[in-house]
């Protein structure tokens, strides 16, 4: 078999010209050629690897390699990309950096709150800030996000106040924010289920006629992990999305681990390749590079809004902390691995870039730290003062319509409860 063609080699690295500063959502636009190509594949579609040795060698390369879209190197160097180049102002980069710092601070504070017994559990996002902020900021207000349980950074971008994330982990609710006003659905705990919900929602966007314009159309983005890709539901979501041309971006954060299962427990080859088997594009992006994630996701969402969905994005990143606060990663992975990934930290590379290129003053960094401190304080205050739901919560809101039997059960239980001298 002839070897598959490689992409045109990446242009030489170099800082891009900085556009006009912006406020809030960065004004950016990837340069993308129109896509077209032959439909019927090459004659002998057996050129995939099928020797396990080859495959394992291939997997080792999973989070490196030429097929990874990158716009900012771990060293903070801007590089260009033939398809996904990005024009972004200094203010735009600053805004993304600020997001990441604040999101990390939320994550670390919540982790501490758990350690202090204020939360029952926390699912840290440490290391995944660029993937989440890049994707979250690429969304338009009218888009809808379907998270898993770790998308605290996306929640931030959608305007969900970080305090609202705590209820789930303190055990007082199962998600308290309003999915409709934020465009950010509730967390999904059963792995992979949300991919079908996202696909159905996107089918609805198409049925509603909200497709056809890259800017004003609507799209859905669905977040899930590398482990989730093994679930049948994620496959069925891919099938449905393809068959109904649903405007949904499947955003897989490949953080290399599903609890203790390393990526080779889920796949032989990089995950973005799955997409082609369903007839839609799969793209792999450096998930620790906020600019690249932003550019690729914005392109993908525009494709969806235009009507060319679905799209799969694999964001290669790393879960730098435990799976949750209940987990002990030292049992299954070596410290070395973490050290290696620390060199690719998603925040540090932006900081270095801003400093080295003179795109931000020391004041800016100090200001962001102050903001983070304030946010952490607010989070802590809120957490320790959250109201505990009463027993009536057990019987409430199970059905939309009146439920006499549950009303009776609630009344019985409250009467029983009140029968104790101390109110139980």
């Amino acid at each position: 078999m002839p070897p598959r063609k490689r992409a045109p080699s990446r242009s030489s690295p170099g800082a891009k010209p900085v556009g006009s500063p912006i406020v809030g959502q960065p004004t950016v636009g990837p340069v993308v050629e129109p896509l077209a190509g032959p439909i019927v594949g090459t004659a002998m579609e057996i050129d995939g690897p099928h020797n396990p040795q080859q495959i394992i060698a291939g997997l080792r390369a999973t989070s490196e390699g030429e097929d990874l879209v990158q716009l900012l190197t771990p060293e903070g160097q801007r590089v260009s990309h033939p398809r996904f180049d990005l024009e972004i102002s200094a203010a735009g980069i600053q805004a993304l950096y600020r997001d990441m710092v604040l999101v990390r601070r939320v994550d670390r504070e919540a982790n501490v709150l758990q350690r202090q017994g204020q939360l029952g559990l926390w699912a840290p996002l440490l290391g995944q800030e660029a993937a989440q902020v890049g994707a979250g900021r690429a969304m338009a207000p009218q888009d809808m996000a379907f998270p898993s349980y770790r998308e605290h950074g996306v929640a931030w971008c959608r305007g969900v106040d970080p305090t609202e994330l705590l209820g789930i982990f303190r055990g007082v609710d199962q998600g308290s924010w309003d999915p409709n006003s934020t465009g950010f659905q509730l967390y999904a705990v059963v792995v992979g289920t949300q991919c079908l919900h996202a696909t159905g929602y996107a089918m609805g966007q198409r049925l509603d006629g909200k497709i056809g314009n890259a800017e004003t159309g609507e799209a859905t983005i669905c977040f899930f992990g590398d482990g989730a890709t093994s679930q049948g539901d994620v496959h069925e979501a891919f099938v449905w999305a393809a068959v109904y041309d649903a405007p949904v971006v499947f955003f897989c954060q490949n953080n290399q681990w599903a609890i203790s299962a390393s990526l080779d427990r889920q796949t032989r080859v990089p995950l973005y390749r799955r997409a082609r088997g369903y007839g839609f594009p799969g793209i792999r992006v450096d998930g620790n590079d906020v600019l690249a994630v932003f550019a690729v996701t914005q392109w993908a969402l525009r494709e969806c809004r235009t009507g060319n969905g679905p799209v799969l994005i694999e964001a290669c990143t790393y879960r730098m902390d435990a799976h949750t606060t209940s987990d002990d990663p030292t049992r299954y992975r070596l410290a070395d691995e973490l050290e290696e990934w620390k060199l690719k930290d998603p925040l540090e590379r932006v900081r270095v870039h801003l400093v080295r290129e003179g795109l931000a003053e020391p004041d800016f960094f100090a200001g962001v730290i102050d903001e983070a401190d304030e946010l952490a304080r607010r989070l802590r205050d809120y957490c320790t003062s959250m109201p505990v739901p009463g027993p009536e919560r057990i019987f409430s809101n199970i059905y939309a319509e009146a439920s006499p039997s549950l009303d009776a059960a609630r009344a019985d239980f409250l009467a029983y409860h009140a029968s104790f001298e101390d109110g139980h």
Binding site: P179, L196, M203, D233, V243, N397
Partner: protein, 330 residues
Amino acid sequence: MAGSAGTQTITLAKGLNQGLRAAMEADPKVIVMGEDVGKLGGVFRITDGLQKDFGEQRVLDTPLGESGIIGTAVGLALRGYRPVCEIQFDGFVYPAFDQIVTQLARFHYRSQGKLRMPVVVRVPHGGGIGAVEHHSESPESYFAHTPGIKVVACANAVDAYWMIQQAIACDDPVIFFEPKRRYWEKASLDLAAAPPPLFSSRLVRSGTTATVVTYGPMVRTALDAATVAEQDGQRLEVIDLRTLSPLDLAPVFDSVRRTGRLICVSEAPGEASLIGELAARVSQECFYSLEAPVLRVTGFDTPYPPAKCEEDYLPDVDRILDAVDRALGY
């Protein structure tokens, strides 16, 4: 008969078809989805003609995957649609079990009422049609045990027509069981007669000797048993549960307080079932009225057998009457 008033004789299948049509006409957000529901009109033709009249945007032939059907219906409901999903046969509802039990049933509670799930899952259920494995099951107890969803079973053409519309109008998820062996039985539908509420049981024959409670395909069998029993001077009272979750047991308690004897009938295996619940509840509520223990006539605690054995497997008039005799023997 579409749309016209007056009384007409229709099959249960046609009742569902016309009920779906009426619901789709009444609300543009109602969409029908499932395997083969479009051009084919479903393997039982329940959705016959709907795609032709309402278009492919409202009647979706889906890929072959039940989890996909229910999971995308959840998403469509979040978007404001009211999906009516068809599961082709009872035995194929299990791949969707996770989406039904952990998602469809939970969104309203999880969101503290912010998100609604007006989704109907239609499931043709039960045996007696000589089918191969997995085509004759009665999975209703699994769903009756699941908080957050509602479960109903229609037993005749008139109920079929109204109940499917009521289920679609319900803002909660409803698992809607259809007695497939009764699809071709006819009844007289009077469009002017207002239907009873969806979540209510109904006395379908009055009697004094004993009460027989059942639902879905066994209602006809119970009524036949009552007819035969009458020849022996036994007057059986028959109640059609109609709603399996929530249960509406007031009419059952009333009846048992009068008759003192209860036979619960279902095709499903009896162990840890809805019918066990009935027996437990009546045994508790009517403790001082019962003159005999509540007896159960059910499918056996075995997999549904090959078709040539189903006549023996399924409760029939004789087994119901045998139970009545045993109850009277106390």
